[in-house]
């Protein structure tokens, strides 16, 4: 896209939504079938060559084995299951996110891998099956015992659960589905003109009229600023 044109369109707010999704690179969508790693690398993030190199390296590695990935799939869907409106954390791709984060932040590797092994150990011991194939009731019985961490001295099992729960929730709410579920309205061109009346009323707040009088009149935002010699804005 031509740079001047792209600036103009953002100012006008017209195509900015499309910009955000396509990364302003025509043709990206058309290259279907390319490996995910390649697509990721193609996306623009103002990344430095070193950062691109790191991404490429991490994408080429696989940390969790197939069984662990399958277990993560079951676990993430227990932590944030589908409801009537939205899919589960697993549907939103959270296991892949956790796989990436384990490579990106290596300190996560041992607690995650060890925690998953402990899950199987516990399930085998109590029910004679691996965690992923246990019944939902059995799985929940295991989780119930570790999902409410001791405030002072959480056990390693509790710490594992808190970590996997944090990654699941953050992974879900940073996904496209999760953002829609949350209802976040930003990250798009906007004209901020204060907190809506109904929201102010809900929280029992109001604007100080004296303060408001100093604020920008958004209907004049495109008029060129001019001042008198004392710094009083004239336009």
């Amino acid at each position: 896209m031509d740079r001047r044109k792209s600036i103009k369109s953002i100012i006008l707010g017209g195509v900015a939504g499309g910009l955000a999704i396509n990364g302003c690179k025509p043709g990206t969508e058309g290259e279907a079938g390319a490996a995910e790693a390649l697509v990721q690398e193609e996306k623009h993030f103002g990344r430095t060559p070193e950062e691109k190199e790191l991404l490429k390296k991490l994408h080429a590695e696989q940390f969790f084995n197939e069984h662990e990935m399958a277990t993560l799939g079951v676990l993430c869907a227990l932590i944030l299951p589908a409801n009537g409106t939205y899919g589960s954390a697993t549907d939103a791709g959270v296991p892949d996110f956790i796989e990436f984060m384990a490579k990106d932040i290596p300190a996560y590797q041992t607690p995650l891998q060890g925690g998953l092994m402990w899950l199987d150990h516990k399930s085998n011991k109590d029910y004679g099956v691996e965690f992923k194939t246990a019944t939902e009731a059995q799985q929940k019985e295991i989780l119930d015992a570790i999902a409410f961490p001791d405030k002072e001295n959480p056990t390693y099992e509790q710490q594992f659960f808190s970590l996997i729960r944090n990654l699941t929730v953050t992974g879900y709410y940073t996904s496209k589905e999760g953002i829609e579920d949350l209802g976040y309205k930003g990250n798009s061109p906007n004209v901020w003109d204060g907190v809506p009346e109904d929201v102010l009323a809900k929280h029992g707040k109001s604007y100080d009229p004296e303060w408001l009088a100093k604020c920008v009149d958004q209907s004049k935002r495109n008029e060129m600023a001019e001042w008198d010699d004392e710094g009083n804005l004239l336009t």
């Binding site: 798009s188 109904d198 710094g231």
Partner: protein, 573 residues
């Protein structure tokens, strides 16, 4: 080794392209001078889609914005960080300093908070006021005309409040406060702390036809693709190029030293090209250092010659001394009255606080001599990596169980979304000779250039100030019925006072003064020892203020540039 030397002799060589270097580039090129700008990092234009981060979603990245590669998150615009591979710095054991560098055209102006505060009349005369530090050789009246011009050239929103030490200016109108900011205003008022609209260099209104108007995405830290916020490239260097200025950009070029002749005058700079790792020389009539306070000190200290055996401009032995950063401490709280928010609207606003509290206290009645201002954070932000870690931790304030899993977690996340208020203090520390950077004779970087070693300790003044911040924060939180999070940092943790350098307002390493024995530069940012070398970053600051330093860097760089033009005309340099 043969060092390649340019045949062209530039009128001015400017080292660094951040706030100070950008302003010097604009003023000197606009005056018709032939300018070379030498920048350690790559070219960067916030409008280039290839390098643009603005309006990206976290799900477009596999790490969802985590800060693995960039300290302030992977979408932050700065190329660099607290540590840069192959370019180390060291610290005297038992002392602290963290140094944030951003190597790219525009430097740290690409990602900063855009808080643009003028120093006030009292800020230039600290010693007269309380006996600490040193007075500047200039006063507010010397800088005011330049602050006025900077306001108009670059654009800053705010309000004229008639405050004695927070001067009025030529402001664009500010945006209305967000919901959490209304809570803050009320809580601060009850504590007797005045709050006024923020003062940020973002265009809430058009100031020219070249730059766009803010569209309230809250992402100034990613650098604005429509140039609606201030960064040095978009607002200074590119416009100077566009209007026909003779500007040659040398990017990916790391300056090693200022070269000098037999008479001890500067003849140019030598630099290492990152592209071929060879050393080159540029020749110029005037050298302007704007590499950042510490980097410029490093260049001077490394510029040793027969004529300048102690480093360039260092006959006073003060280059690197009086290093000081802003103080900083913060606290966050859970605000029950901000629970269960309506998510019906876009609350991003501008990329920093719409309101702030300038220093209100009377230091003569306190156990610390200088003030601080308060910044506010919060709101319904875009979820990124780390969002809703411990999603129902605030249950503990209601005697409910913390933890669990299942569909109810979604309710917890929504219940608490946007209910945290953060408050941070940014204050003035005293410039002290004992706090300094120097060359570490035992360590070089990957380009063979000796690196800096830092030696910095906060004094009781700064710690007392941090204690006052913490008590103030708690009072404000109490006033709005908020529950402060975590333990209140006590004496054992210096009351939460951040390590020196963490606020990224480091100044003072080439301080200005009238006496060449007690200062490095004169009141026009010119080295006392070498009249064709100027420093236009924050190095010449005689003292910080309870303000951020960028607007003063810009004003002083413009003032120094006017002086350079005049001196060249008069053939004095």
């Amino acid at each position: 080794m043969q060092i390649k030397e340019s045949s062209e002799i530039y009128d001015v060589i400017i080292v660094g392209s951040g706030a100070g270097g950008g302003m010097a580039t604009k003023q000197l090129a606009d005056a018709g001078l032939n300018v070379a700008v030498v920048e350690a990092g790559p070219f960067f234009d916030p409008a280039d889609p290839k390098t643009m981060n603005q309006l990206k979603w976290n799900y477009e990245s596999p790490r969802r914005g985590a800060n693995t590669t960039r300290a302030f998150g992977e979408f932050d615009a700065a190329y660099g960080g607290w540590e840069i591979e192959g370019e180390p710095y060291t610290r005297e054991p038992g002392t602290e300093f963290d140094w944030f560098r951003s190597h790219m055209l525009g430097g740290r102006t690409n990602h900063w908070g855009r808080i643009s505060l003028r120093f006030g009349p009292k800020d230039f005369k600290g010693k007269t006021r309380d006996g600490h530090g040193e007075d500047w050789p200039i006063g507010y009246e010397d800088v005011k005309p330049y602050y006025d011009k900077v306001d108009k050239l670059i654009g800053v929103f705010g309000t004229n409040e008639g405050l004695e030490n927070d001067p009025d200016g030529f402001f664009l109108p500010p945006p209305k406060p967000r919901l959490h900011e209304i809570f803050y205003i009320n809580g601060a008022k009850k504590a007797g702390i005045p709050t006024i609209p923020g003062r940020l260099s973002m265009l809430t209104k058009r100031i020219n036809t070249e730059r766009g108007v803010c569209f309230y995405c809250g992402q100034c830290s990613r650098s604005c693709s429509v140039y609606a916020d201030f960064s040095s490239g978009s607002c200074l260097i590119f416009p100077a190029q566009k209007s026909g200025g003779r500007i040659k950009l040398y990017v990916n070029c790391v300056v090693r030293e200022v070269t000098t002749n037999e008479e001890g005058k500067a003849t140019g700079v030598s630099y290492i090209s990152k592209d071929d790792r060879k050393e080159y020389k540029l020749r110029g009539k005037v050298v302007v250092l704007a590499a950042s306070a510490c980097s410029s000190a490093r260049i001077l200290l490394n510029s040793k010659s027969k004529q300048h055996p102690n480093g360039l401009g260092n006959s006073s032995d003060l280059v690197g001394k009086y290093l000081h950063d802003s103080t900083g401490a913060s606290r966050a709280a859970f605000v029950p009255a901000l629970m269960n928010r309506k998510v019906s609207y876009n609350e991003d606003g501008v990329g920093s606080n719409h309101v702030y509290s300038p220093w209100w206290g009377d230091n003569s009645k306190l156990d610390f001599p200088r003030g601080y201002h308060i910044e506010v954070g919060g709101g319904m932000k875009m979820p990124g990596y780390g969002f809703s870690f411990n999603p129902n931790e605030f249950n503990k304030f209601f005697g409910l169980k913390v933890g669990g899993y299942g569909d109810s977690l979604r309710d917890d996340v929504k219940k608490y979304y946007g209910s945290v208020l953060g408050i941070a203090g940014r204050g003035e520390g005293i410039a002290r000779k004992e706090n300094y950077c120097e060359i570490d004779p035992t360590t070089v970087d990957q380009f063979g250039i000796p690196v800096l070693k830092f030696n910095y300790k906060w004094s009781e003044f700064e710690k007392n100030q941090a204690k006052h911040m913490q008590d103030t924060f708690e009072e404000i939180f109490h006033n709005i019925g908020a529950e402060p999070l975590g333990e209140k940092p006590g004496k054992d943790r210096d009351y939460g006072l951040e390590a020196p350098g963490r606020i990224i307002h480091e100044v003072g390493t080439t301080r200005m003064g009238n006496d060449p024995k007690t200062s490095v530069t004169n009141k026009f940012n010119q080295l006392h020892d070498v009249d064709n070398v100027f420093i236009v970053d924050a190095g010449p600051f005689t003292s910080q203020a309870d303000k951020n330093c960028t607007w003063t860097i810009l004003a002083l760089s413009w003032r120094a540039s006017d002086y350079i033009i005049e001196q060249l005309k008069q053939q004095n340099i």
